[in-house]
């Protein structure tokens, strides 16, 4: 394998806590869409070495915690290179940054540029800068008062039809009574 950064790295004796930190960082990067094994190993290795250095400098946090701290700093630096002014120490700002990544379709189109030492493509940087999430149009409020309902027997609601009351219902009633009457006569005649 011809990986300069790994070749230059001093080898640490195996430590389960650092193994866990390595896996955690790698998982976190994968959760962003980074899938290239070479890039993943390279970036994760750099992050772990940085975290180990912090531990060696006296930090007493767990390796996972330290490694994730470095990971965030690493991502923040990449954002800065992409021209994004985001305070990566702030989780709320980080969420905004991640939103920019997904709206710019980083996992789909640009996964191998994420955290890569290569320059950030201009199209990706532009997409991240101009991102916005629009869950709804601008509010335009209306008053919607509950309809008035009254219960009790009633007239037709249609003012047009109500004004044109006709003889039709009466004629209908008479003809229907006539039909019922015919059946009555048929009954009476047979009994």
């Amino acid at each position: 394998m011809n990986s300069p950064s790994l070749a230059a790295a001093p080898l640490s004796p195996a430590d389960p806590d650092w193994d866990e930190a390595f896996l955690r960082v790698q998982s976190y990067l994968r959760s962003h869409g980074l899938e290239s094994p070479v890039l993943l190993s390279q970036i994760t290795g750099e992050i772990i070495r940085d975290a180990e250095a912090r531990a060696a400098a006296g930090r007493t946090d767990a390796p996972v915690t330290l490694a994730m701290e470095v990971t965030h700093a690493f991502i923040g630096a990449w954002f800065a290179r992409a021209g994004q002014q985001i305070d990566w120490a702030n989780e709320r700002a980080r969420a905004q940054g991640r939103l920019a990544l997904i709206i710019a379709d980083l996992p789909g189109r640009w996964a191998n540029y994420f955290l890569s030492p290569e320059p950030v493509p201009a199209e990706l940087a532009a997409a991240m800068t101009s991102f916005q999430i629009l869950p709804g149009p601008e509010l335009s409020l209306s008053n919607m008062p509950p309809a008035l309902l009254e219960f009790g027997f009633a007239e037709s609601g249609d003012p047009v039809l109500a004004a044109k009351k006709t003889w039709l219902p009466l004629r209908s009633m008479v003809s229907w009574l006539f039909i019922v009457g015919l059946f009555g006569v048929a009954w009476a005649a047979g009994h």
Partner: protein
């Protein structure tokens, strides 16, 4: 068809009255002979109180049968004559179809704990279809979520964003989730109207399982533009995408029989049609002004919030002077149906309570008579079941009383002495007449289809159509007594004040349909069927023969429910072309694409069963993108309530250390609704050593881990 353009505004105010008069006259003419014959049968053996009750129930139930037959008869005649001249779709001509429309329209899809993939792919199909019809510029699309299940809620958010990205539809497809789902679906729509209703002239309401083509939507908008007095146009959705026997049976029956029945329905409804809650277009300004639903006075099953909002909204619209039309013979309008008998009954349970509540509106002031008729027919559609049951019980009592008396039947003369009717012949004639009317709509629909060769071919041709009709009739005959008992039970529960739970319907395909569910749901019906069979056999074996279809339906309800809910059997019948519909033989691109997309999505469904119950929460906490989308959609907190921060810190600790099951569902929801907690949880989870995390979270993290477990060999320790 070369028809004259219809002008609803010039429709005579007497036309509707004339048409309704004719329908009622036909109903009376059909019902009269049956009632007369039944009365005579009782007269020949001597009337008593039981027989009076029996006759009254028979008359009421027969009226409903006659109404269905009358509608079908009128519909058939109209279609044979080239269609009803008074159809709202007839108000457009080819010049209208070419004209420009500039009517801002919102296509809204209210959802509540529905299958996310189906919702999103359905909306995508509609969106792309509107795009193909070139009308995207005038349309906005809204997913209006009331989902309370975090799995659905979180899934909807992520899927919405993914959809807008995929379609380049940012600023065109919107997502709104209510924090509290006040007043269910009606409240959901009302909330949309209050926030954004002013921005649009029309609102096309879809259900979670609706699909409408762009052409259908554009046509509805044109119809509204053309007819400025129309407030609502209800489309007639066709049932599609069924896989089980029951679902395919429903879509086959509705596709085959509905054109004739719907033509008959439109004949008497005209501008006082009904609104069915979805697949309809609504004029927003009058809807906002007149159709907000108040709470009904009192409590219990008839008070409180209005459960079935659609009928009431149509009545309110009509009360305000706006017309409501049914768009018959308009293509491109689809929905799905329940896959199993139990899902069918669950849906009926919800509708039943809503319809019974409409009893209050029968005497509400200002409503149009036609709307009162809609309310009454809606109530009777469910009350018919208990009435039928009482009718059967009374029939059995009459037979039992006769058997107990030990008398020999010596009937008197029939009133129609000139036809020399023996008593059995008279009874059989009445039975035959009843069956004729019951099956008349089917027969007329088949006759109607015979004249349309192309449509006949789309049903698989005569050779496949007729066995389908026979099998459908057999299954529905066996289904009827099962639904009768379900509805009766639901009516009792509703009147006793038992609340209906308005959960989402379980419509997704692939859901396991185990034996246990039918056994639990139909066990009581089977026992009742067996008791009934023993009873009537003891009273009179001939009575048992008469009642055998009903008793068989009940006794075999468990295997019947299981088999009709089987996808394997449904697909097997489909391969043989049984229950084939034009939508299956020549699927529209929208439906074909939806089917393919859903198959792809469902294949990709992952996750271990342990994680599945809280997969939404898992994603919202763990996944960096889902978390970011979720918190961006949460409302910013103004000022945290005193003590709330401490509560959230404690909840977060429990969630991470002990897993989601250690929290109550309401606490999990509270965390999901708190943006600060979601930020903190994402950060803390990833930065926390595994030893301090619940085993559930450790398993969840493995989803993202690249390293596979070490291979197991003889040397493994």
């Amino acid at each position: 068809m070369d028809c004259v353009k219809f002008e609803p505004a010039q429709l005579s105010p007497h036309e509707a009255a004339r048409r309704r008069h004719r329908i009622v006259t036909i109903v009376l003419l059909l019902t009269g002979p049956a009632v007369l014959t039944m009365a005579d049968l009782h007269q020949r053996t001597g009337f008593d109180a039981w027989k009076f009750l029996h006759l009254a129930l028979f008359a009421l139930l027969f009226l409903l049968v006659a109404l269905g037959a009358a509608q079908a008869l009128v519909g058939y005649v109209l279609r044979r004559r080239g269609g009803d001249p008074c159809r709202i779709v007839g108000s457009l001509d080819s010049a209208d179809d070419q004209g420009t429309i500039l009517a801002p329209t919102a296509v809204v899809m209210p959802i509540c704990n529905e299958e996310v993939a189906r919702v999103i792919e359905g909306l995508r199909a509609v969106y792309e279809s509107v795009g193909r019809s070139g009308r995207l510029a005038e349309c906005h699309f809204f997913l209006l979520s009331d989902s309370t299940d975090p799995n659905c809620w979180i899934g909807e958010e992520a899927a919405w964003l993914a959809l807008t990205r995929r379609l380049g539809a940012q600023g065109r497809i919107f997502y709104r989730k209510r924090r509290i789902g006040i007043n269910k679906k009606a409240g959901n729509i009302a909330d949309f109207c209050r926030r954004w209703g002013k921005l649009y002239r029309y609102m096309v309401v879809l259900d979670a399982d609706s699909v409408m083509t762009g052409d259908a939507i554009v046509r509805l908008v044109r119809l509204m533009e053309r007819n400025r007095r129309v407030g609502i146009i209800q489309g007639v959705p066709l049932l599609v995408n069924g896989e089980t026997i029951l679902a395919r049976l429903q879509q086959f029956a509705s596709r085959l029989y509905s054109p004739v029945s719907v033509a008959g329905l439109n004949y008497w409804q005209l501008s006082e049609a009904n609104y069915w809650g979805h697949n309809a277009i609504i004029r927003l300004a009058p809807f906002i002004r007149h159709c907000s639903l108040p709470e009904l006075p009192g409590s219990g099953p008839f008070g409180g919030r209005i459960l079935s909002h659609d009928y009431v909204e149509a009545a309110l619209m009509r009360r305000a002077g706006w017309e409501v039309w049914l768009a018959t013979e308009m293509e491109g309008n689809y929905e799905e149906c329940p896959a199993t008998l139990i899902e069918f009954a669950q849906r009926d349970r919800r509708w039943l309570q809503g319809n019974l509540q409409h009893a209050r509106f029968l005497v509400a002031r200002g409503f149009h008579g036609a709307n009162r008729a809609h309310f009454m027919l809606g109530i009777l559609s469910y009350l018919a079941s208990p009435l039928w049951l009482v009718f059967l019980v009374v029939s059995t009592v009459i037979a039992a009383r006769f058997a107990a008396a030990g008398l020999v039947l010596l009937p008197g003369r029939s009133f129609a002495s000139y036809v020399h009717w023996s008593y059995p012949a008279q009874a059989l004639s009445l039975f035959g007449y009843t069956m004729t009317l019951l099956f008349l709509p089917k027969a007329l629909a088949l006759l109607d289809l015979r004249s349309r060769r192309e449509d006949l071919a789309d049903f698989g041709g005569r050779r496949k159509l007729l066995p389908g009709v026979a099998l459908e009739s057999l299954i529905f005959t066996l289904l009827a007594p099962v639904l009768m008992l379900f509805h009766t039970w639901f009516v009792i529960l509703t009147l006793a004040g038992s609340k209906v739970s308005w959960g989402a319907q379980l419509r997704e395909r692939g859901a396991a349909h185990a034996w246990v569910e039918p056994v639990v749901a139909h066990g009581g019906q089977t026992v009742l069927g067996l008791i009934g069979a023993a009873l009537v056999l003891r009273i009179d074996p001939r009575l048992a023969l008469w009642m055998s279809p009903i008793l068989a339906g009940l006794i075999f309800s468990i295997p019947f429910s299981y088999l009709t809910g089987s996808r394997t059997l449904g697909r097997a019948l489909r391969r043989r072309g049984i229950f084939e519909t034009p939508e299956e033989s020549r699927p529209l691109p929208e439906l074909a694409q939806l089917d393919e997309a859903l198959a792809r999505r469902r294949q990709g469904l992952p996750h271990s069963p342990e994680l599945a119950a809280n997969y939404g929460l898992l994603q919202a906490v763990l996944d960096p993108y889902v978390n970011a989308v979720h918190v961006s959609l949460l409302r910013a907190k103004d000022e945290p309530a005193p003590g709330s921060e401490e509560r959230f810190i404690a909840l977060r600790r429990v969630l991470l250390r002990e897993g989601p099951r250690a929290l109550m569902p309401r606490d999990r929801t509270a965390l999901l609704m708190d943006a600060d907690s979601m930020h903190a949880l994402h950060h803390e989870l990833w930065a926390c050593p595994s030893a301090q995390l619940a085993a559930w979270w450790q398993l969840a993290l493995q989803h993202y881990t690249r390293v596979a477990p070490a291979p197991q060999t003889a040397f493994s320790r």
